[in-house]
Amino acid sequence: MAFKRDKKEEEDGGGNPFENIEKTSVLQEARAFNDTSVNPRKCTHILTKVLYLLNQGEQLGTTEATEVFFAMTKLFQSKDVVLRRMVYLGIRELSSIAEDVIIVTSSLTKDMTGNEALYRAAAIRALCSITDVTMLQAIERYMKQAIVDKNPAVSSAALVSSLHLARSAGELVKRWVNEAQEAFSSDNVMVQYHALGLMYHIRKTDRLAVIKLVTKLTKQSLKSPFAVCLLIRIACRLLEDEDGAPGADSTLLSFIESCLRHKTELVIYEAAHAMVNLRRTTAKELAPAVSVLQLFCSTSKPPLRFAAVRTLNQVAMSHPSAVTACNLDLENLITDSNRSIATLAITTLLKTGAESSVDRLMKQIASFVSEISDEFKIVVVQAIRALCTKFPRKHSVLMNFLSAMLRDEGGLDYKASIADTIITIIESNPEAKETGLAHLCEFIEDCEHTSLAVRILHLLGREGPKTKQPSRYIRFIYNRVILENAAVRGAAVAAMAQFGAQCPDLHENVQVLLARCQMDSDDEVRDRATYYYTILALKNRSLYNSYITESLQVSIPALERSLHQYTLNATETPFDMKSVPLAAVEPLVSEIVAQKAVPEGTIMSTPAPQRLGVSKEESALELVSSIPEIAALLPQLGPIFRSSEPVELTESETEYVVRCIKHCFARHLLLQFDVLNTLSDQLLENVRVSLEPAEGYRILREVPIPRLPYSESCSAFCLLEFPQDDLSASTGTFGATLAYMVKDCDPATGLPDSDEGYDDTYMVEDVEVTLADQVQRVWKGNWAAAWEEAANLCELEDTYALTSMRTLQEATTNIVQFLGLQPADRSERVPDGKSNHTLYLAGIFRGGHDVLVRAKLALADGVTMQLTVRASTPDVAELVTSAVG
């Protein structure tokens, strides 16, 4: 009992003296810094509160921050060591918010070069946080001295700060390479490590120099195990690089291999981790690394066991057979008192084990799943997801397990990952669909997370009508209407309408329920009910298709803006939906996951929730409207139909970095060139990209960048008109050259040496305009119905041999990317082991032309494809077919 109370008090935060502090009162207290005589104890306490607030995520405005910052500068008059160090921390925290922070530069340089050893390292870090490129030269000398300082703390601080500075002032920091080299020979393990970090960073862009550095160092025996670890990582990066490290590959590999026999566990682990993660590692090379990890599995040190089993868990995906050798050791870890280790061991076994062991292992997890943290529960869920694809027959055991987990306590991330897994199972395994939906129905009966409940209701609306017995779901859905908050009720109304539209048997019942919902207390719910009720009452399939089964295709924020505009000008003409920009379809979650290389060693939680809010086109419009020359033309151009991803026109690390974004309007193309000047001794003026447009294009307007100082990025624009009569000429290649006037200037001040400049040009890569730039993806919930409806549009059909494609998946992915259309019915995924596949695509061509594409693919010595296009005009259909050819 007593114990319980203690625990309660702890939860109440009785132990946190800062719990009840509040921004305004702390800022008020901070005025004490201005007192004529400084009271170090009191000021230290106040500063602690300020830092606490900032670390809790409290936001300070510029004025507030500046005020605190300046008050804090007065604390430099106190010699109290603790207070001074708090001031350094305060400077670092506020340096990015407050103005005029360079005011403490001299005070900090004094401290970093002074006699008080306790000040020096921290002063360096604070100094680097307030220094900008223009000030850096003034402190360069001190930094160089500090790097080679005898005091390891000072040297380390200077090295690490240099690394941070290199991000904004790479060129300058490069000049410190000799000092870094000298620090590298230090006896201190940290200094050597940090020095290597800086040496590598300075050479990073020069492959050959890095190779030289690494091969030289691999022959020495370094004192610092941390430095060896870093060296291993650099070696890996070289090996993973596309070009490899010609001539040095074998040296690097055998270096990493040799580290498996290093005397420090840290290094051994790093080497093993590196070996198993190298893409090129073969089973034979893997063996020694895995046996090292196996050995670690049975040490008495929990961190080592944890690291080993976590790495094995990852390898289990890529090289299951190699991990099987460790099964016995992993079995021993199942009962490890550290639950994180146990969880990883079990999930590894699940990945490598046979179907027969699934039941046993699941039972084992069940015995302690309530004791582990959400993060590890998610690991379990992911293992289950992998199992379901591997052993489809096991889905009922696994599904039961998942539904038990769903009923447990847990945070949103955890619950969402379970729901995601069930949804994946439903989608990939038709047999599991009904059970899965049933579990989800049960889950929403008692689900505290609104967002999750809404998602599941949406899924029920989409999948439920296609099941054998749709009526079963209506009760679950209607219960939500009675019991839940408005957001969930609204989702439930929308879900019911899906049944009404797709299941004629249920039409009448749904109408009765919807009629009741029109009495709801919430506006949105009532509106939805009325909307669906009215449409369903008309009993017109085509209306159902466009207004119930398919969702709105326009971008919602843009719609809101257009409607607002419309209400401002009193007019008789009805609102034209076609004038609203379309919403870009968000890439599928699976695509995001595939693209985003998961940093090795991280435990993946559920994919980031889909971004809501401003689309690319929206933010492009905002940018473009701020350029007067273009903004004036916007009424003629209409809405931005589609903005492309940025395309790099230069290599990175060149003098000027240029990238191009293509904004497509109904009849115009606006090219946005973002130019970055990386030369500190040049000021560029009148910067533009001069184009040689493809035939048929007409340049209407060019907007150069008037002034482009060092390290700034600005945008130049070029507005073109698409070829008017020949649609097929709209795809093409434009030659491009960067043209500008150079004024040489003083790198320190950025001021030009004289008013005289000279013209110069710089070759960049061609700009390519593709079909994909001119279409917007549209997601069809019921593609087949849309295809049917389009039967009376223009149809073109052609057959192609895609000889360079080796698999159906490769061909599918390429076609999707190439045409820029949206796949429907998950047809972008080719089920394993199929020899033919059909891909369904939909989109809209600029000018508002619907495009539907069906691609039938067959695997036969390469891939052959029969492509059928339905589009509202013949030339659009032709453009699509010719784009593939």
Binding site: N34, K74, Q77, V104, T105, S106, S107, T109, K110
Partner: protein, 201 residues
């Protein structure tokens, strides 16, 4: 209160702490002046342009000074005013060989005098007509005239020529200054007003 303390107070010897602000255009010699006053083992061997400010401590006639050595570069002059409020005296250093920028000095001085945290306060101001050793240096009288110091009626002020490198003239200035701040520190004592006489010395 112990006997010793009593005695100390009685003779006006009680250790006093004052905060002074050292301002003036860049390159006028502020940091060099302060360096002169610092204890021997505290002195910097080389002096670089100040960025922002620096806090230095020194003693004169048993008064402890905390001096804020401000940067005089154009882009930092706006920052002086943040420190006006809690200072008890100002040392204004002028490069007397920099005839060209005397107008700038006057402008900055006007801004300082008009600032709400300075105007109306009897803050003692010590003007140092520094770099007197330079060949084309103006005399302190000319500087006083050039800056229109006789306009300052509500503050004690004093001007003297100095050479911060050798220390010449600094003692005189700081002795006056110390006396002033001491009087300010002791309630009831009206500070003596500076005037053309003082400047003519």
């Amino acid at each position: 209160m112990g006997l010793l303390d009593k005695l100390v107070t009685l003779f006006g010897l009680r250790k006093q702490e004052v905060k002074v602000l050292v301002v003036g255009l860049n390159n006028s010699g502020k940091t060099t002046v302060l360096n002169h006053f610092k204890a021997e083992d505290d002195k910097s061997t080389e002096i670089v342009p100040t960025v922002g400010f620096n806090i230095e401590k020194f003693k004169n006639q048993n008064v402890g000074f905390t001096a804020l050595d401000m940067s005089g570069q154009g882009r930092y002059r706006d920052l002086w005013e943040f420190y006006y409020k809690d200072c008890q005296g100002i040392i204004f250093v002028v490069d007397s060989s920099d005839r060209l920028r005397l107008a700038v000095v006057r402008h900055e001085l006007d801004l300082l005098l008009q600032h709400p945290d300075v105007a109306g306060r009897a803050l003692p101001i010590l003007f140092l007509a520094n770099k007197m050793d330079q060949r084309d240096a103006l005399s302190s009288v000319k500087i006083a005239a050039g800056l229109g110091l006789d306009r300052i009626l509500d503050k004690p002020w004093h001007i003297c020529a100095s050479n911060a490198v050798t220390g010449e003239g600094l003692e005189e200035g700081v002795t006056w200054f110390t006396q002033q701040v001491r009087q300010v520190g002791q309630p009831g004592n009206r500070p003596s007003r500076g005037g053309p006489l003082a400047a003519a010395k």
